[in-house]
């Protein structure tokens, strides 16, 4: 198929939209930490993006999309982007490569939730390179690069499993290895700037249109359908979480935006397969489920600090299962459980739980490895004065 100028223009724009989600995550998280760690939190998102860009250029893209080796990983055919050119199937290969790159960068940025306010920057760089190579790249290959999940028929339209289950359960494993923040549970660590988190949420919601609609890889009806259900699910999630938190007290704006993100996460794998009515159900359940997961996390005294597990992990898990429930052949060519195809639900469950186990397990091992060699965590004094000063020599007090 020759290059289509409309598709190419659309995916170029979507790529830029998704890139903006990475600093969006930085702002979303940055508002929730204490102000002595604000610069650190936003910087980590940019650093994650820059690291993954270089890794993706050298090996990452090849590991994810090179010729299949045993259904597990891609070959080294595209090492250093060798052979990735301006020609392609509808859109240039280079454009497909960079569109996939921005997803990989975002995923590592989401992971910083589990290590917020206590990670040693140098260790994050080492860990991040290992993680994106050994966790993200295989998962991307399984789903999109011709791996076993794709052969099995698992549906993941825009990365519910690859991006959200991996980063959510990865963040949980990381948090367990690095340990709680000093003083966690003894005194309150309230978000220092909620408008900043709302701004980050706005950038995420906005960028998500590129994330999901762009995953159609063409400027067509499917892209429009994905765009619409994405927005519906986000809205339903925002209202559901806000409503649930209203019962427990005041309807916080932080809960509302968290519900919006939960809705966006859950619709991600389903965006190219479900209709608007299903999107409402997916969003509402995501908002309620992720809120319950957050409450569970807090009750258990787990310091997965900024709730990537509750929102991305559990939201992603629900999204993967929901795709198997609500998929309809009228939209994406595959039917799910309620359209008389329970087999798809089983496939979705296998894919989601294998990915969950792999992401959690390998992240745990990598984190332990880095922790035992160079140490993941800053010293007690560095943590006390904050990572802005101790890791970057900067402070928002100017």
């Amino acid at each position: 198929m020759p290059i289509d100028s409309g598709d190419t223009a659309f995916i170029l724009i979507c790529t830029a939209l998704v890139m903006l989600m990475t600093p969006g995550v930085g702002l979303f998280y940055g508002g929730m930490v204490r102000k002595k760690n604000l610069i650190s939190m936003i910087a980590l998102a940019f650093i994650a993006f820059a690291l993954v860009t270089i890794q993706w250029t050298f090996v990452g893209y090849s590991l994810a999309f090179g010729s299949d080796i045993g259904g597990f990983i891609g070959g080294l055919d595209f090492l250093g982007l060798n052979g990735v050119g301006m020609e392609g199937d509808g859109i240039p290969d280079l454009l497909f490569m960079v569109f996939q790159l921005v997803f990989a960068g975002l995923t590592l940025a989401i992971l910083t939730s589990g290590i917020a306010e206590r990670i040693k920057l140098s260790s994050f760089i080492i860990f991040g390179l290992l993680w994106t190579t050994l966790v993200y790249d295989p998962l991307a290959h399984w789903a999109w690069g011709g791996g076993w999940a794709a052969s099995l028929g698992a549906l993941d339209f825009a990365g519910g499993t690859v991006v959200h289950i991996s980063s959510g359960f990865g963040a949980l494993a990381l948090a367990l290895v690095i340990g709680k923040r000093a003083g966690f549970g003894q005194y309150s660590m309230e978000p220092h700037n909620i408008p900043m988190t709302l701004l980050g949420g706005a950038l995420l919601w906005f960028g998500w249109f590129g994330f999901n609609a762009g995953s159609a890889l063409a400027a067509n009806g499917l892209a429009a359908s994905a765009f619409v259900v994405t927005n519906i699910s986000a809205a339903a999630g925002a209202l559901a979480w806000m409503g649930a938190s209203w019962i427990n007290g005041k309807p916080s704006s932080l809960g509302m935006i968290s519900g919006g993100i939960a809705g966006l996460v859950a619709i991600t794998p389903a965006a190219g397969f479900v209709n608007p009515m299903a999107a409402i159900v997916i969003g509402v359940v995501a908002g309620l489920l992720c809120y319950a997961a957050l409450l569970f996390r807090v009750r258990k005294g787990l310091d997965e600090s900024l709730d990537a597990w509750a929102i991305h992990g559990m939201g992603g898990l629900w999204g993967a299962l929901a795709t198997g429930i609500f998929a309809t052949a009228a939209i994406g060519g595959v039917d799910g459980l309620i359209y008389g195809n329970p087999g798809q639900f089983v496939i979705q469950a296998i894919d989601a739980f294998v990915a969950m186990g792999y992401a959690f397990g390998v992240t745990f091992i990598l984190a332990k490895l880095v922790d035992m060699t160079i140490g993941l965590r800053v010293t007690e004094e560095e943590e006390y004065v904050g990572l802005d000063i101790s890791q970057h020599g900067e402070s928002i007090r100017a």
């Binding site: 002595k36 003083g183 003894q186 005194y187 309150s188 010293t379 004094e381 560095e382 006390y384 004065v385 000063i389 101790s390 020599g393």
Partner: protein, 110 residues
């Protein structure tokens, strides 16, 4: 009347405030401040380079109370604000000549 100025760790504020409330001391003014004590701030050591954090964020609680309450307030702040490490803070007590209300004409001069 005495003025008690207590400079404490910001993360201890909630506990100290609660303990003071339980003893019946409600009126206070709280300010975010920066400062240093005898430890001259914190010096972080890295390979080959030093970063000095010479002014550390603290919280200052100001209370004006009858002379007879001062000892109890000091005890309460010590009991809840102490970690035992450098940087727990200081309490200063000074004489107050006049306390004048704004809403009323109340005037205490002793």
């Amino acid at each position: 009347m005495k003025k008690v100025e207590a400079i404490i760790r910001p993360e201890k504020l909630e506990q100290v405030k609660k303990a003071l409330e339980e003893k019946g001391f409600f009126p206070m003014t709280v300010t975010e401040v920066r400062g240093r004590g005898a430890q001259k701030g914190i010096c972080l050591q890295f390979r080959g380079k030093k970063i000095e954090v010479d002014l550390i964020p603290k919280v200052q609680i100001d209370m004006v109370v009858p002379d007879s309450d001062v000892a109890l307030i000091i005890d309460t702040i010590r009991a809840t604000g102490r970690t035992g490490k450098n940087g727990d803070g200081k309490i200063f007590v000074s004489h107050v000549e006049i306390v004048a209300g704004v809403r009323t004409d109340e005037m205490i001069t002793e």
